[in-house]
């Protein structure tokens, strides 16, 4: 596999190969989730009916959902449906799983994307500043504030943001999602910022450490000896090399962003897939869990693919 940086044809086959590789991963995850969730104590009917459930009702409802059959049979039944595009109906919400996911997943996607973007906007310039002004006050101040960002739990930062910027200053609405795209950007800004806090702290630390490593490299001296503009030296030579290890970290951390999204969506009342996930777990809503897991597995794999392509573009030495 010669390096994909230059040619376009290899890029296409590389992407195709990675997508084919995704299939076993998604299937593996689906099987594990399918079984794991059914091993969880409690079943959908008792989770829904709660303490009032009478055994007769529980048996009747579980039977109507086909849950009385052995797990392998249920799985075959499920696979048969998946091929016909039917992911089943949500036990609690009584809506087709595809409709719910179509409603809720884009919300979380938008939230995590905004958070990732904000994290980059926060982390890159400040990492640069901290690296250039190493061991001086600016460096200490930047690292100190990010250290606070790294230690504040998401729900606390969220409530603080809402109290200050929402209720008191009224710059932003207090939670909610909004209808038009612009309205949603406006509503999702605070939750995205909250989510971006600890994410940007991790990025900044890593980027600062690699910039310091790169800034003393001889090719940077050579670039300066060539009389290039400082801005070009910093971006094309320093940043591009420093980003290599940070991109790996970025790809890995995206997965954890979703974990943070669950709590952020609860605090900011955002109707996202994070909350749907936790409600489905507590409600033992198997069909929704299965559908959501597939969707998430595909999405996170795609983000991995994107970060890998970006990394290969960034660093041609590491031929794939």
């Amino acid at each position: 596999m010669q390096n994909i940086g230059s040619g376009s044809l290899p890029l296409f086959s590389f992407v195709l190969r990675r997508i084919l590789q995704m299939i076993p991963t998604v299937v593996f995850i689906l099987v594990v989730t399918f079984v794991l969730v059914r091993l969880l104590p409690g079943d959908p009917a008792s989770a829904m009916l709660g303490d009032r459930a009478i055994d007769a009702d529980v048996e009747r409802i579980n039977a109507s959902l086909g849950l009385d059959k052995p797990i392998p049979v249920q799985f075959l039944y499920f696979v048969k449906n998946v091929f016909t595009g039917d992911l089943g109906t949500s036990i609690a919400l009584k809506l087709p799983v595809t409709t719910i996911i179509m409603q809720r997943l884009p919300v979380t996607l938008m939230l995590t994307l905004m958070a990732a973007l904000l994290a980059l906007i926060l982390a890159v310039p400040l990492a640069f500043l901290a690296a250039l002004k190493r061991e001086q006050t600016a460096d200490a101040v930047i690292r100190g504030t990010f250290q606070v960002g790294l230690s504040m739990p998401v729900f606390y930062v969220g409530i603080l943001m809402l109290t200050v910027f929402g209720a008191t200053l009224k710059w932003f609405p207090v939670g909610g999602y909004g209808d038009t795209f612009a309205d949603r950007l406006y509503h999702l800004f605070l939750p995205a910022l909250t989510l971006a806090f600890s994410f940007s702290a991790v990025l900044m630390r890593n980027l600062r450490s690699s910039i310091i490593g790169v800034i003393n490299a001889e090719y940077v001296d050579f670039a300066r000896a060539k009389g290039l503009r400082p801005r070009i030296i910093m971006t094309r030579h320093v940043l591009r090399n420093a980003l290599i290890s940070t991109v790996t970290l970025f790809g890995l951390q995206i997965g954890t962003l979703f974990g943070g999204a669950v709590i952020t969506e609860t605090v900011f009342a955002v109707p996202g897939a994070g909350r749907l996930m936790i409600d489905s777990i507590y409600g033992r809503d198997y069909p929704v869990l299965q559908g959501l897991t597939i969707a998430l597995a595909v999405l996170v794999s795609l983000t991995f693919l994107a970060t890998d392509i970006f990394q290969a573009w960034l660093d041609p030495r590491v031929a794939r």
């Binding site: 969880l40 104590p41 409690g42 079943d43 008792s46 989770a47 829904m48 009916l49 709660g50 303490d51 009032r52 459930a53 009478i54 055994d55 009702d57 529980v58 009747r60 109507s64 609690a92 919400l93 009584k94 809506l95 719910i100 409603q103 809720r104 729900f155 409530i159 809402l162 109290t163 929402g166 209720a167 009224k170 609405p173 207090v174 939670g175 909610g176 999602y177 609860t266 605090v267 900011f268 009342a269 955002v270 109707p271 996202g272 909350r275 749907l276 777990i281 507590y282 409600g283 033992r284």
Partner: protein, 525 residues
């Protein structure tokens, strides 16, 4: 005489008022912050409070609960009479009542709706109307219920959400083979008989209801109810966020205010901190079986249970967990439940008596035990932490096990739990529901604890058929006497529904059963 005086007083008020709230203002949309979204708005097939508590705004029942939640008043039916032998009920429908699509509400709709509610295969609420044998119609205004046996709670049952009246023709026309499938299709564009009708519903975020132009109810100004143009529910799961949104004026009301914030909001200038009386009781359930999973269970000894009850300082827990909003329980059922008896708190705190009881039971040095707590629930954690401290004085080492709801329900239904925290709200203005779950062993072995009392079981059977109110009251008094003395629970406290409303909101009501009524609510401009 009393009536005339009241009229005079009203007149004076009217004349003398400048800003008083008597003059009702119409129009506007009220936004209400809820802690969770509804799941399935079908009266018969729903299964959670998040649905039950707003269904009354969409669907009307033949009879309506009185504001104090104990009695009944006219709804879609204007007259109702239970036959002397108690075997049948005659109801006369109100004139000119229509569904939200303008079609008339006919006796056929009522009969079909009630039979659907009583059908054993539909949902989990049919036990409330299990006494109904058949429903027939006479003429264009009368409906007759034939009962299998006299049912003292039948009138109360006719106010419960599951007996709400649906349009038979529209429902039957919905696509789908089974009743459940038709219900799903119907629920997407429901035709309602209540003050509002569903306009739009974004799951997990916003639900919009609008006025039902054809609603029969009349307001104080003689014009049709509801006063509001519509009600918008916003789902705000986090308590702090819900209150913040209320404070910033983005919503007009918020439910389930945490007890810790009640005091603070009482003093807030722009809000009314309402504490609506409720049938909600908080208690701990103890497994009374001699052995659990093969190990001996000290809790099976009534003396141990009584000792643990005496060792619990209810006032301390009320102060810590409810910040003084709660009241100690005087019986296993809430004081707002009809036929509640008992005036002094159960098991007043007496640590010495507790220790002597433990010695008598042979557990002087105490024992290790555990309690199931709902993961992340602040109130339950608070209670368990307090119990841990209090029972430590009896040498009992209590381990907290935070698990999610489904896990706890599983162990609970299998009867393999040791102890668990729980709360209960009535669904019917009658003590039979709570008693069948708490006391009557055939239903669920008395809260799955394996506790049984012959006399209590017999009394309950009799009460289910006893038409004479005073005799029935006496039966319940005895049942409460038995259960409160040796029942397998640690009664803790009962609390009202803490709802914070903006000063602009008037006429909103949450009855003790939990149902939220927006029909008579209105907003200052």
């Amino acid at each position: 005489m009393k009536k005339i005086a009241k009229a005079a007083l009203a007149a004076v008020l009217l004349v003398g008022t400048s800003l008083s709230a008597v003059a009702v203002e119409r129009g506007g949309v009220m936004t209400y912050g809820r802690y969770a979204d509804s799941l399935f708005l079908d009266p018969v097939l729903n299964d959670a409070n998040v649905d039950i508590w707003i269904l009354s705004n969409l669907y009307d029942t033949l009879l309506l609960p009185t504001d104090d939640g104990k009695g009944v008043q006219a709804g879609l039916a204007t007259e109702w009479k239970v036959s002397d032998d108690g075997m049948s009920v005659n109801l006369t429908l109100r004139d000119g009542i229509q569904f939200s699509d303008g079609s008339p509400i006919t006796p056929a709709d009522v009969a079909w709706s009630l039979k659907r509610a009583a059908n054993k295969d539909n949902g989990i609420w049919n036990f409330l109307v299990s006494s109904i044998d058949d429903v027939t119609t006479e003429g264009d205004k009368t409906v007759v219920l034939k009962l299998k046996h006299p049912d003292p709670a039948i009138l109360a049952a006719l106010t419960v959400f599951n007996t709400a009246i649906l349009p038979q023709k529209v429902f039957e026309a919905a696509a789908g083979a089974t009743d459940a499938d038709k219900a799903k299709v119907f629920a997407e564009h429901p035709v309602s008989s209540g003050p509002f009708v569903l306009q739009s519903w974004d799951r997990g975020s916003t639900m919009k209801l609008v006025r039902n132009e054809h609603y029969w109810g009349k307001g104080e100004d003689g014009k049709p109810l509801p006063y509001l143009d519509g009600v918008t529910f916003e789902v705000l799961p986090d308590d702090a966020t819900r209150i913040l949104k209320l404070n910033s004026g983005e919503i007009d009301g918020a439910e389930f205010i945490p007890y810790s914030r009640v005091e603070e909001l009482k003093s807030a200038g722009n809000l009314n901190m309402e504490l609506f009386p409720s049938t909600r009781v908080q208690y701990v359930t103890m497994n009374a079986r001699p052995q659990i999973k093969g190990k001996d269970n000290p809790l099976s000894n009534p003396k141990v249970r009584q000792a643990m009850n005496y060792a619990v300082n209810k006032d301390a827990i009320i102060a810590i967990v409810t910040h003084g909003v709660g009241k100690p329980l005087t019986s296993y059922m809430s004081s707002a439940t009809p036929m509640h008896t008992g005036d002094k708190p159960l098991y007043a705190y007496d640590i010495e008596k507790a220790k002597s009881l433990m010695k008598e039971a042979g557990f002087e040095k105490g024992f290790d035990t555990s309690i199931l707590v709902l993961a992340g629930n602040q109130d339950e954690i608070g209670i368990a932490t307090a119990l841990q401290q209090m029972w430590a004085e009896l040498g009992i080492k209590l381990e907290l096990q935070q698990v999610d709801n489904a896990t706890r329900t599983q162990q609970y239904r299998d009867g393999v739990f040791t102890m668990r925290e729980a709360a209960w709200t009535d669904d019917i203005a009658d003590p039979n529901e709570i008693t069948s779950y708490f006391v009557y062993s055939p239903t669920i072995d008395a809260l799955h604890t394996g506790w049984k009392n012959e006399e209590a079981d017999k009394l309950f059977d009799a009460s289910q058929k006893e038409i004479d109110a005073t005799k029935r009251a006496a039966q319940y008094a005895r049942i409460q006497e038995i259960y409160n003395a040796e029942g397998p629970i640690v009664p803790l406290y009962e609390t009202p529904y803490p709802v914070a409303l903006s000063k602009k909101v008037h006429g909103f009501l949450q009855i003790p059963l939990g149902n939220n009524f927006f029909g008579r609510a209105w907003l200052d401009k």
